[in-house]
Symmetry: D2
C-alpha cells in the first residue's frame, strides 16, 4: 500500500476492486494478451502475464509492447477503487524504461505492481515496476485522468 | 524523412528495410496484434494496426496497450536500416500521451509514423505520432539503444 | 502554428500573449535564468535563453537543468492565450531527451519552440524542441492541466 | 540504498562521492540555483534547494524549472561513484510529474532523493522523488548514459 497518499483504505471500494478482475477476464485485449489481476489493494494493484510465444518477437524475446500493455492496464485500473462509482479513469500518459529483456525460454510470468503516488480530484500519478521471476525488467510512471461520467 | 539528421539516405540499407516487413509478418507478438509495416524510408517508418474487437477493451474502446505496442514496434524498427548490419537496436524507453480514444465502432486503421530525431553511435531518439483515419490519437517519444552483436 | 488543433486563431487572446512576455520579464526564476519570450502565436511559443557561465556546469557545458527549465517555462505558457482568462495552466508532467551538449565557449542563444498538439477542456499536450544556433539540442513533450481559478 | 542493483557497495567510490559535493559547490548553475549535495551513498543521492524568491515565479510559487533542475542534477550525479574513474555520466532523458506546488511563503527546503534502479555497462536508470518539508512534490525517472572519456 502506498504510504504517499492518505486515506486510501477509507476510499477503497472492494466491490469495484473485484469488478476489475472480472473486467480483465471478460475478453478483448486483456484476454488476447493473457492478463490477469492478482491483487487489488488500496492504492496498489498486481497484474500478471504468463510468458508464451505469442507475446514474444520471432527472435524469442518478450516484445516491449506486451510489457507496455501490462503496465498500461495496471495503471488504468489502480485508481478505480479509489474514486466515486461511475467516474471514468484513463491513463493519459505514461513513460516506461526497459531494463532487462526476458527470453521465451525463461518461461515464467511477468508481474507488474502499480502503486498510486498522488491522487487529486482529477489527476493521479502512479508508478509501476515489472518483474519476471524476481528480476526487475521495467519501470514506469504515468498520469491518470479522472473524468465525470459521459452522458 | 527527418530533416534533423544528416546523411540518412546514404546510411539507409534497403535490404534491412525490407526485412523489417518480413520480421513483422513472421509471427509472434506483431502477428498476435495484427501489425504490418506500410512504409520504411530513411529515418521514418509507418506501421499500421486495423481496429478490431481483440485490441479493444470490453467497453469497446481501443486499449491503450495496443496503441503503446504499435508505438514500441515502430520505434524499435525505425533505426535498424540506419546502422551497420548485425547491430541490435532496442527501445530502451519511451513516453506516450494519449489524446483521443478510438471506439471499436469507428473501425478503420491505426497508423503510427515514427521519425528519427537524433542518431549517434549508441543512442538514437525518435518521435512517433499515431493517427486513426486522419485524427491524431497519441504522441510518443523514445530512446533507442544500438548494441554490438551479442556473441 | 500547430496544424493538429483546430480553431486556434479564434481562441487566441493577444492580450494574454503580450502578458506572457511581461510575466517572464518581471522577475523571479525566469529572470534568474535569463529567459525571454520571443514569439507568441496561436498554439506556439518561442522562448530564449542566452548561453552564459551561470547556466553552465563548472566544466563549461550548459546544465541540463537550464534546458529543462527553458522547456518547462515554454510548456507552461503556450496554452494560456488559448483558454478563458482567469483559468490557470500548469505543466503537470513532461519528458525531455537531450541530444547534443552545448559548450559555454559556443556562446549564442538557446531557443525552445513549444507547440500545442492537443487541447481539451482540462488537458493539453504540447511538444517542445530546443535548438542552439540552428542545431537541435533537446526534444520534449508534456501535459498541461487547465484549472478553474482558485477561490 | 537501492535494493534493485547488486554489488553497489563494492563499486562505490567514496572519493568520487566527496567530489560531487565539491563540484556542486564550485559555481556555475548549481550555485546560481543554490543546490547542495546532502548525502551520497551507494546508488543513492540527496540534493537540496532552499526555497527563496529567486526560484519562484512572480506569483510566488516555486517554478517547475527549478524542481526539474534539482532532479536533473541528482540524476546526473547518482551514478558517478559507481563507475570507473574518468568515465563520463550524462542524463540522456528524464520525465517528471509535478504533484504539489510549493509556495514561497512556505519557505523550507526542497529535497530530491535519487536512487539507481538499474546499472549496466553504458545505461543506468534512476528514480527521483522530490519532497518539501515531508510532503512529496514531484516524481521523476530518467536514463543515464555512461561514456568513455573523451580524448
Amino acid at each position: 500500500m502506498s504510504a504517499a497518499v492518505e486515506g486510501l483504505e477509507q476510499r477503497f471500494d472492494a466491490k469495484v476492486a473485484e469488478a476489475l478482475r472480472e473486467y480483465t477476464r471478460a475478453g478483448g485485449y486483456p484476454h488476447l494478451l493473457g492478463l490477469s489481476v492478482d491483487v487489488v489493494e488500496p492504492g496498489r494493484i498486481v497484474v500478471s502475464l504468463p510468458v508464451r510465444a505469442e507475446i514474444c518477437s520471432v527472435v524469442g524475446v518478450v516484445h516491449g509492447g506486451a510489457i507496455a500493455s501490462l503496465v498500461d492496464h495496471a495503471l488504468s485500473l489502480v485508481v478505480y477503487p479509489l474514486v466515486e462509482r461511475g467516474k471514468w479513469v484513463a491513463t493519459t500518459e505514461f513513460k516506461i524504461n526497459y531494463v532487462e529483456s526476458v527470453s521465451l525460454g525463461a518461461e515464467g510470468t511477468l508481474r507488474v505492481t502499480a502503486e498510486v503516488l498522488s491522487l487529486k480530484k482529477r489527476l493521479a500519478v502512479a508508478r509501476a515496476d515489472v518483474e519476471h521471476e524476481g528480476k526487475l525488467v521495467a519501470h514506469a510512471m504515468g498520469t491518470l485522468y479522472v473524468k465525470d461520467p459521459a452522458r
